[in-house]
Amino acid sequence: MQTTQKSIKERIIHYVENHSGEILQNDPPEMAQLRRKAFQLFKTQGIPGRNLESWKNTDIQSILDQEYHCSPEPESRKINVETFFHCNIPDLDTLMVNTLNGYYIYRHSPLKKHPNGVIIGSLAEAKKQYPQLVDENYGKCAIDTIDGMISLNTALANDGVFVYVPDNVEMKEAIQIVHINHNEERLLTNVRNLIVVGKNSSLTLVHCDDSYTKQAAFINSLTEIIVKQNAVVDHYKLQNLNNNTTLINQVFFSQFADSRVHSVAMTLNGGLIRNYAHTRFHEPGAEANVLGLYLVDKTQNVDNQVYINHTAPNCTSNELFKGLIDDQAKAIFNGHIKVHRNAQKTIAYQNNKNLLLTDKARIVAKPFLEIYADDVKCSHGATVGQLDNDALFYLMSRGISKESARMLLMYAFAAEVINEIKIDVLRNQIDDMVKKRLHGELDICETCVLHCQNREREITFPIDMSKI
């Protein structure tokens, strides 16, 4: 990947062909096979372009035309993460794990089996220690044929977080995955997480993406979450990245009978963020709530893609995505619900609501239902509006300034999603962050507590957003 003359696709192919030994070295046989297949697929797919329907409004090719480096396995695995940050949310009882530029940070050990049988650690290490467990589940939710970012991740990703919750275990502590990008040169990071939650078990997962330098980065993140019979997963994503960062974040849920997933994605800052949430109901009785909130301004771009695949009867899905779009920012929402012929008694709702705060803010919303069963309850809708003038007048007529009145209304709009965060301390913290964000105090470039654009200043954490 030395020359910028070649296309990104050619550079990636060149890189893989020269480094195939390193890339394949830890793979169990089935996984190596999966990787080779994905690479072949990527060779035909390439980086998704705007000719693809779901990428029509998000151009990553021009971003990747610049020079990016793939990150080799870092010496930083044994880095002391406490030098980066410490936890300031006193009551948030989480088990925290970190990845740095796509690689798991070892801390005390690369992989740990807890007394209750829960395994948490590095995916690369899990391949060595639990090859069968990884092989059984890896690559079973993600669908490489969807587009080149997914096949690229399968082909290139070497590490990430592995979580295994055996049957009948209720995880009381939330697991918090913090992905950090800290780079001196432009990095192309492929990170892969695999989460398996056994029958009748429950898990709360908090997943954060943060940047610590102003350097441009391209993160291609993929998380597979397998939710077995009657299991419950609460999943929270928080994104607060610098405006030079591109994040492609793909989450695949596989849901079995009577399982429940509650997923809330909060995008507070980021240059270009694409969230792809894919849920497949394999067996009846499962339920998924997929929610999102995006607050974007300046020239930020956020693209939310949700695909819910009802292949089994009696499942329920509920989507709510809300966005506040300011300045010249752009947001995209594509919601696709597919109800197969045998998926009778499906209940599927989809809703996307947007507030455009300026004339130049843009939203492209495309709610889409594809239904082949005849006994279903489905609805979809998208709204785009401005702040309600009657409500503004009402608030101002009580002496509240226009600025504060706008703030109250924007916050109220966002609160519907914030209130879906079930962990009290996390909800309060995000609530605070959203308020700060709306006041312009959480602007990652200028006034953010991380001061990533201004590194001579000491990094202090009055609120520790990295930990959320």
Binding site: F393, Y394, M396, R398, F413, A415
Partner: protein, 249 residues
């Protein structure tokens, strides 16, 4: 306190107020009556500062200042309060957050320190008693899911919290049962004193049995066509508004 001279106002090229005059002094309660569509709510909205109207002519002087040059929030902080005919529902904004923001912005405007949480809650409990609101407002969004009566009581509650100099009640009685009407009237009566003034806009004489006005004005086709004491309200109730057309014939 308030002096309106020759106010002529239109909306979308349709004239609504046609040279209205009104003088209000401290300690007075003025009732404005009149049939539908004669400009009563327009007058209330203009005083509060709603900017959907075109002022063609006239002046409004409020305590020596040109009211037209003041923003909506500035008017409120200078003591003007409008009890809305149709209070707006604002999902997601809690009553507590709303009132605390309003009170503290008003205090800031007058150079006072913000109320502490404890002081604020105490004040809120006091004023809730005044308007007989029994429900917990803490977790409720502004007017969301409130019944018609609750919404109007909530307007009076806000008035009690903000202690205005000039309060305008825009058909606060419409849609109220007799108990709610009494509560609303009691609230007004307890708040009225020699330093403030009220404009009570209503269709019916009924409210004026409880809030005794000093003056009654009849607004008809964009003008005040008749003014008098409280007995004028009774006369209107008996003879109807049609009676107003007859003297000129």
């Amino acid at each position: 306190m308030l002096s309106i001279k020759n106010l002529t106002v239109s909306i979308e090229n349709k004239q609504i107020l046609k040279g209205l005059n009104l003088e209000i002094n401290k300690g007075e309660v003025h009732a404005i009556m009149g049939p539908n569509g004669t400009g009563k709510s327009t007058l209330a909205n203009i005083i509060a500062g709603k900017n959907i109207y075109t002022i063609e002519e006239g002046t409004i002087d409020y305590m020596g200042k040109n009211l037209m040059e003041m923003e909506v929030d500035e008017r409120a902080n200078e003591g003007i309060f409008l009890s809305f005919q149709y209070p707006v529902e604002i999902p997601g904004v809690s009553m507590v957050n709303f009132m605390r923001t309003a009170i503290n912005e008003q205090r800031q405007y007058h150079g006072k320190d913000p109320l502490s949480a404890a002081e604020f809650l105490q004040k809120m409990e006091e004023k809730k008693k005044l308007v007989e609101i029994h429900s917990k407002l803490t977790n409720r969004s502004v007017n969301e899911g409130f019944s018609g009566g609750e919404k109007k009581k909530n307007e009076i509650f806000q008035m009690a919290m903000l202690e205005p100099v000039l309060a305008i009640l825009d058909e606060t009685d419409s849609g109220l049962d007799i108990d709610a009407l009494r509560v609303v009237a009691n609230g007004v009566n307890k708040l009225r004193n020699e330093n403030n003034a009220f404009i009570v806009i209503t269709h019916y004489q009924r409210l004026l049995d409880y809030i005794i006005p000093d003056f009654v004005h009849v607004l008809f086709e964009g003008k005040i066509v008749k003014s008098g004491g409280k007995e004028l309200a009774l006369e209107l109730e008996q003879k109807g508004y049609e009676w107003l057309n007859q003297p000129s014939k």
